[in-house]
């Protein structure tokens, strides 16, 4: 008789979800699904609001990465105004966006995933968390706090507060950068680089212990999507879209983000509130792709900063083509922290950054606006239409975690087939299935534009849908 295992809730991620694993009659895994069980509906209830409220409203989608939504929303509003923002505002938005990436990646690596990597996938779950990490590796845990705090501090110093600042506005930013803040950030960057280089060393030395996980954590061919600069380098704020395949062969390049609807379709499955984007030219479900740190490093030619490019060479040596295992999202995340620190340093040394001209003022000049940027978890798209009074008549948001929906589903199936056997799941197997999801650092509150916290529920079902075993964590 076939059976189903349920993991509910999924832990150490943001939002509510559960995993079901269906077992065939012979005790092998026949299917696995990642269900996102929360819903909010920002696209609908923003209809009727003035366009200029959108950055503040959509930032409330998330308390973790509000800056990402601010950024994409402000860019969509810039498009409605049909303005080109001043160069200083351009640089300052980039710095803010990188501050967000640094703090988000630091939390994901040091505090959500390092317990698995340093304490072991099979470690006692009662200790396999940040407090256990603090006992066993206090310096690592403290470094994680420091890096996360630094990213948050960049956000607060620039914009006034760490969560939901109102500094990024249509047409630019609210006020210029003071020399005092510039100097404070610059003074701290060397320590950030030192911490990140240390973490990279530690991760690389640990990789031998995770051969099975590297082989089975969503390790399959797919497309990879990310923004790149005009030169083809790593980009988080602007640029054009590039899609590469599993061989890093460019499938689409210099793609105008404003034409995303020609590239991306959104499928809906009855078992999840999370929509399933796909690459339109290849159809659904064949056109599945990944976004986020791994995808960005696969898509770009270079990072464009010295230390990150040196690390990128080692990263590229993992594979002849694209790096396919989602386990390496962790590695890519650390390289992106390094890049972020170096890039912030470069931007702060750019004299243009200190200009006091930081905002272009205009009214709406176009009925439709699209803003695309890279959030820590991947490509973020905000698209608005307005009426003659500047009120929103339609909104579409495609969020990073959503892009990865198909990859996460296929990833847990791959890991479940490797680690789950029979109708009962061991703690280590359960953790590995969860750890596949954690590789993507999903933010389900964002991706369903929803409220809530992430927890895990795993169920084992038989072929008729009867629950045979289940485990919950909250």
């Amino acid at each position: 008789m076939s059976k189903t295992i349920t993991i509910d809730p999924v832990t150490r991620i943001e939002g509510h979800s559960k995993i079901t694993i269906t077992m065939a009659d012979d005790g092998s895994v026949s299917d696995a699904r990642f269900h996102v069980t929360q819903f909010r509906g920002f696209e609908k209830f923003t209809e009727g609001r003035p366009y200029y409220e959108m950055p503040a409203i959509t930032a409330r989608i998330c308390g973790i990465c509000p800056i990402s939504h601010l950024m994409a929303s402000a860019k969509a509003c810039d498009d409605l105004l049909a303005v080109r923002i001043p160069p200083a505002a351009y640089n300052l938005r980039r710095i803010l966006n990188l501050g967000q990436t640094i703090q988000s990646h630091a939390l994901s690596f040091f505090h959500l995933s390092a317990p698995d990597i340093l304490l072991g996938m099979d470690a006692d779950p009662a200790r396999r968390h940040v407090l256990g990490l603090a006992e066993a590796y206090p310096e690592i845990a403290r470094n994680g706090v420091w890096l996360r705090m630094f990213g948050q501090q960049i956000i607060e110093w620039l914009s006034g507060k760490r969560i939901h600042p109102a500094w990024v506005v249509p047409g630019g930013v609210g006020h210029p950068l003071s020399p005092d803040v510039r100097d404070k950030i610059l003074e701290m960057i060397p320590k950030g680089i030192e911490i990140t280089m240390g973490a990279l060393d530690l991760l690389k030395k640990s990789m031998d212990q995770f051969e099975a996980e590297i082989q089975t954590f969503a390790n399959f061919p797919s497309l990879f999507l990310g923004l790149v600069t005009p030169e083809g380098n790593l980009e988080h704020y602007d640029g054009t879209l590039r899609i590469v395949d599993e061989n890093r062969k460019v499938v689409g390049d210099q793609l105008d983000p404003k034409r995303y609807m020609d590239l991306i379709g959104e499928a809906v499955e009855p078992w999840s509130y999370l929509k399933t984007p796909y690459y339109k030219p290849m159809g659904y479900p064949d056109g599945f792709y990944r976004v986020g740190p791994l995808a960005r490093l696969n898509a770009c030619d270079q990072c464009g900063t010295a230390k990150a490019d040196e690390e990128l060479k080692h990263f590229r040596a993992l594979s002849e083509g694209a790096v396919l295992s989602s386990f390496h999202y962790h590695y890519a995340r650390l390289i992106e922290i390094l890049y972020g620190l170096e890039r912030v340093q470069q931007l702060l040394h750019d004299p243009e950054t200190m200009s006091t001209r930081v905002r272009a003022v205009a009214g709406p000049n176009q009925p439709e606006g699209i803003g695309v940027s890279e959030a820590p978890r991947g490509t973020l798209i905000h698209h608005y239409r307005i009426n003659d009074d500047g009120l929103i008549t339609w909104a579409n948001l495609i969020i990073a975690t959503g892009h990865n929906n198909m990859a996460m589903n296929r990833g847990i199936l791959q890991a479940a087939k490797e680690f789950v056997h029979g109708d009962r799941i061991t703690e280590g197997a359960l953790n590995r299935v969860e750890a596949v999801i954690r590789c993507y650092d999903p933010c389900l509150s964002c991706s369903t534009h929803a409220l809530g916290e992430m927890a895990l529920h795993v169920q084992v079902l038989d072929a008729k849908g009867n629950i045979l075993d289940e485990a919950r964590r909250s």
């Binding site: 505090h111 968390h129 407090l131 996360r148 939901h164």
Partner: protein, 162 residues
Amino acid sequence: MKREDHKKLLIGWGNELRGDDAAGRLTARHVALWHTPDIEVMDIHQLTPELSYWIANSAHVIFVDAYPSLEPSTLRLSPILPGSDTSVSSLHHVTPSFLVTMAHALYGQCPPALQIGIPALRMDICAEVSSFAQASVIEALDVIREAWALDTCRVSDDKNRR
């Protein structure tokens, strides 16, 4: 992130778009208006793990938050001890007791900590704090003064009600 160590730290948090849930933040703003040099005030949306650094380096911490209440009720005061919350599911937002535990685990030190819960009668979507919760904020300020033996003027709190 340089700061003077061993200040008293007040952390008020909540969602300003959820009515009385903002009571903790309102309290923080009142305390900031005291302009007391040895008090650091954090007025924030949610608790996050890096706050453990500031907590570990403080002389005393007071957390102020709203708690849902179906009817008018009193302030809830509870000391927070390290080790009282070791549950970890998300880390994207955490509890005061988790932060105190984390401060102790990471930095080997943790100051005395107190949590003040302000009763919240309404937490629906709105940007206004009820008059009952505002009155409770004033009571919370008295508790803070007493806990920190401060001699600030209560009249200024009433004047600064929002």
